[in-house]
Amino acid sequence: MIAQMEEIFRGEFTTDVLETTVLNHKRMVVRIRPAALLEIVNFLTEDKRYRFIIASGISHADHFEILYHLSDDSTGYILSLQVELPIEKPEIESLANLVPAANWIEREIHDLFGITFLNHPNMVPLIANGNWAADEHPYATQGRRGAVAESHEQGSATHQKGDSRLRNINKDL
């Protein structure tokens, strides 16, 4: 049962684990302090042989949230590490140096939510690559209603941005 995992967790990281929620016998969400992320992921992937599945960002009214989903393939558990980041300065240490599988998803979350990943080895856009303005993060919803409507009105201008990307490729080659 994943409840045993909960005890191990509480024993190893007493101050870093803020809250644990057991959803059912194979799923658990653990809210942690953002500063302890690397240490806890290292513990899970190295000592416990967990596999990094993916991370998912969520934009709430007053904060950002990232869930790091990890899977234990010997038992079928999925453990999600939950961190909350303030809107004013959403930044967190990058996992990509420790877990290369996190490289792309951190770039994607940066494109979509505007969250900064510190010390990422290759922080270039993954999907935003010239398709929209560098400071525009379509999945970050807080207080952006006006901005979205405005960009819709300037539809043709947005298309121009898309074209510039193709031009860049031609230049590259």
Partner: protein, 407 residues
Amino acid sequence: MNRRTIIPIGPYHPLQEEPELFKLFCEGETVVDIEFETGYNHRGIEKINEKKTFDQVFFVVERICGICSTSHPFAYANAMEEIAGIEIPDRAKYIRSIIGELERIHSHLLWVGLAGHFLGYNTVYMWSWKYRESVLDIFEMITGNRNNYAMFKIGGVRRDIPNSMIPEIRRMLDSLKPKIALLTGAVMDDPVIHARTKGVGILTPEVIRKYGAVGPTARASGIAIDVRRDDPYAAYGMVNWNVITAEEGDVFAKAKVRLLEMVESVSIIEQCLTGLEKTKEGDTETVVREIPPGMGFGRAEAPRGEVFHFVRSDGSNMPVRHKIRAPSYVNIATFKESCIGQTVSDATIILAAVDPCYCCTERLTAAYQMVSDVRRLDGMELIRLSHEKTRNIMSQLENPGSPQKKD
């Protein structure tokens, strides 16, 4: 040697169904670096789903992938049933597994065909695509569609498989078995395929762990992970089958894993058909009245590996957040390890080996020298170079003693 050539594959390539750009940096014939760019066709499906009701989401996610169109609804249904905390009837479980396994067979046949095509072995391509048709016929009989079957819903399946149809499905499966055996024999014993794929594009277990690769890509490197066994869903916990693995990690091992998996899939379908006969006709759904607030983590083993869906609900009729991770997202990243040091002609089959389903030939459009002298090669230029080389070789053959002319 400091002359580097970039061979771009994409972003819009005639044989590639999705826009993506691979830049192969080559020195001579050897690939020394590879860069990958995506996002040309970001459809924002995760965002669209936040404005769809839980039932409508099925139709959106079914259209994420054109080949394995059931794997996403499968994972989404698992996620939703986890939030609702419900168990579906056994008959619905069997039907789901039948659809999932038929899809694995047709997807693997499609890959074997494409792999043969990349190697220039078009007989394999023609055979396996012909045999794939008979799987699509079974689909058409069961669901009414060759693809995008719309079979899944929260709590069960939309259509039953009537018991009267089972003998016909068995007959069609029986006729498929010798075809799969023939194809397996043709690929496993062929010296040309051995020569082209053995020892090519090896992925070690360390690399697989590093990039979190899944599915046949991981299993061909000796990492026995399979969601169907590790986190059983649908009927996979109720039937007997084996996880196929290979140790070598090269392209041949990936082909072997896929071919043998098809045999397992046929066996799973047959057991599920037996299971269907034991359950009551029409009992295919647990009615779900509402979705409570919560989080659901749904997984399904697609032909290419683990599909992961994360759904968060707040008690309304639409998801607050829906995160989708397709297997190619993690598998494609392994190119960085598997392609470097290989030749251009091998790179195409290595890129294809994780089954991102795109085809590429050596399409050279631009070349530049490292000393910032950019030179563009168009079609005419390539033909001229080719003629020149042929003339060169012919003159060599006529006068064996003459020194080779520099091109």
